[in-house]
């Protein structure tokens, strides 16, 4: 269970990085990537995945 960022639509704005409760997001070559081993989809932590909620690009973060 994990989310992934579609690199071609990521703007690299960095909004998602500090919101992740699992520190699963990092920058890679100007855009951001999610470590699937760390991602919990915020299950049990928040109502909805924080990265999806803050991302300015609809459909940029999807189920892996």
């Amino acid at each position: 269970m994990a989310l992934k960022i579609i690199g071609s639509t990521c703007t690299g704005c960095s909004a998602c990085e500090p919101e992740c409760p699992n520190v699963a997001i990092r920058e890679k070559g100007g855009t951001y990537v999610i470590d699937p081993k760390k991602c919990t989809e915020c299950e049990g932590q928040f109502d909805s995945p924080q990265c999806v909620a803050v991302c300015p690009v609809d459909g940029c973060i999807v189920k892996a």
């Binding site: 703007t11 690299g12 704005c13 960095s14 909004a15 500090p18 919101e19 928040f46 109502d47 909805s48 924080q50 909620a53 803050v54 300015p56 690009v57």
Partner: protein
């Protein structure tokens, strides 16, 4: 983006608001003066200082804060430069006029940027620019996201810069959502200028502008989102006023959405001690990829913008000289020298920050500024007094600086617009007329768009003008005037106005009403000259 709005588009026949349609502000508000501020002193609720004010119009401690700040002092913006560093890419809200994916060096509007910087890179850039441009006095963080949605990057930049260049004034702009939580931090870094973008004080209106906010770990939409944002904006503004931080309120005028509502915004922000209110036209084109661009929401015409600004007279003071610059702009307002300071160029520059050199340069700037000011006062005192009547006209002026009519018509990238009546000559804004693209357009193709940009003016004052544009302007009903070449602008405008009135009085001319004008959308590529 390669091209902005089609050059052929014309102002709409039906305006949402017109002069006279908007109610003036009602009775003066009874408001306590904010701590350390000056914006509510004076009679009739009229603020006593603002961007057009000078040292005689405000308490010395306020003048000290604004006199070298190009955004807070209309006069200062002719002499002092500012820069923005793009260290804050993240945002905590979505606005329908913003698309942060957008990036183009030919684009010039808030929120747009070419290179994102780390705080370290940003500080090096500021120090480099400050060494090259000694009249650069202000550093702002204005995005491309929200400065306070990136508090670590924003405040790291301020902290490091203060250590290396303590004379540079710091300011930031924000949507206000995170502001109340960070007011202490803002005061810790001596940031004495904060801009808050406030487009509404009614969540019903806000819901049409903000699709969502990210708040308390949730994405909140609709009226609730706008209500929270509104409450945080008002709270943040009140807190800053209580601490004596000068605030500028930016409002984007969106025809049919918040045009008349901005009069209420003006009243509410004045009540809470805002120093300045900057009402800016919406920039909206489909190719920007914004919601408003894609849904065909248009920006206001020149007269729609002016109608709202005029209706706010008596409320919070208005900033009229905003150029809606980029989140990485460098230079005087109206010019953009960011291309000279790209990351690779900065990497190759050896920089020594010479505070003494900056100080002595700025002393020279100050001497020149005083000389201009005095010369202008003498010139105006000599201008003949006119009998009072209701006639009020707009005049476009071609200037390359120094407060004089001293630019050739063909070289103008932006006109300054003055409103003249027997009572006063007032700077009311500027109109960009630079080319959309550098290639492919000659002077002949350019002229019709110049006419559209100043179509509400009765005359255009220039140092020189060629025969062809002279004829075309005359045919369009705009009088080309080169008789005042080299004169101070106010004196020239008044002189022409006097002449115009005597021609009307003698029957040589029939006074006619002018139409509306178009506000140029999109790229600002041509201005490499002083504002």
């Amino acid at each position: 983006m390669q091209s902005a709005s089609p050059a052929s588009s014309t102002p709409p026949a039906v305006a949402f608001v017109g002069i006279g349609q908007i109610k003036r502000l009602g009775d003066p508000l009874d408001i306590p003066a904010p701590s350390g501020g000056c914006s509510t002193e004076g009679g009739e609720g009229k603020a006593s200082c603002g961007s057009s004010g000078g040292p005689d119009d405000m308490p010395p401690e306020i003048w000290e804060k604004v006199k070298n700040h190009p955004c807070y002092s209309e006069e200062a913006h002719h002499h002092y430069a500012r820069m923005h560093v793009a260290v804050a890419p993240a945002c905590n809200i979505q606005c329908n006029y913003c698309n942060r994916k957008y990036d183009c060096s030919n684009e010039s509007r808030p929120g747009v940027v070419s290179q994102k910087l780390t705080p370290e890179q940003a500080v090096k850039k500021v120090v480099t620019v400050a060494s090259e441009i000694p009249q650069m006095t202000v550093l702002g963080i204005a995005g491309p996201g929200d400065s306070l949605a990136n508090p670590k990057k924003t405040f790291d930049t301020f902290r490091m810069l203060q250590e290396q260049a303590p004379d540079i004034k710091l300011c930031l702009s924000t949507n206000g959502l995170a502001l109340p939580d960070l007011v202490d931090e803002i005061c810790r870094y001596n940031i004495d200028h904060v801009t808050i973008t406030i487009n509404m004080v009614d969540p019903e209106v806000g819901a049409k502008i903000y699709p969502w906010i990210f708040w308390d770990h949730r994405r909140i939409t609709g009226i609730e989102a706008a209500r929270i944002l509104h409450e945080r904006q008002m709270l943040g503004l009140e807190m800053l006023t209580a601490r004596g931080v000068l605030t500028k309120i930016n409002s984007v005028l969106i025809p049919g959405v918040n045009d008349e509502h901005l009069i209420e915004v003006n009243r509410e922000v004045k009540k809470r001690g805002a120093f300045l209110h900057n009402i800016m036209p919406l920039i909206s084109e489909a190719e920007h990829g914004t919601v408003f661009g894609l849904t065909g929401q248009r920006g206001p015409t020149a007269q729609e913008l002016k109608a709202v600004q005029d209706a706010c007279a008596g409320g919070a003071n208005l900033m009229r000289h905003c150029r809606q610059c980029r989140a990485d702009a460098v230079g005087l307002l109206g010019e953009d020298r960011s291309e000279e300071f790209t990351q690779d160029k900065i990497d190759q520059m050896e920089v020594v920050y010479d505070l003494d050199r900056r100080r002595s340069y700025q002393e020279q700037v100050e001497i020149e500024r005083q000389a201009q000011h005095q010369a202008k006062q003498i010139a105006l005192a000599g201008a003949s007094a006119l009998p009072v009547d209701d006639l009020k006209l707009l005049v476009a002026v071609a200037t390359q600086g120094g407060g004089r009519v001293n630019e050739h018509f063909g070289h103008v990238t932006e006109f300054q617009i003055y409103e003249v009546s027997a009572q006063q000559t007032l700077f009311v804004g500027h109109r960009r007329v630079d080319l959309y693209c550098q290639g492919g357009y000659g002077d002949d193709e350019q002229l019709p768009s110049v006419v559209r940009a100043i179509n509400d003016c009765h005359a255009v004052l220039v140092s020189k003008i060629g025969a062809c544009p002279r004829d075309e302007l005359s045919a369009a009903g705009i009088e080309p005037v080169d008789a005042y070449a080299g004169d101070f602008i106010e004196k020239a405008v008044l002189g022409w106005f006097n002449d115009y009135r005597s021609r009307v009085a003698s029957g040589a001319l029939v006074h006619q009403h002018r139409g509306d004008a178009q506000i140029r959308q999109g790229a600002f590529t041509g201005a490499q000259q002083a504002a």
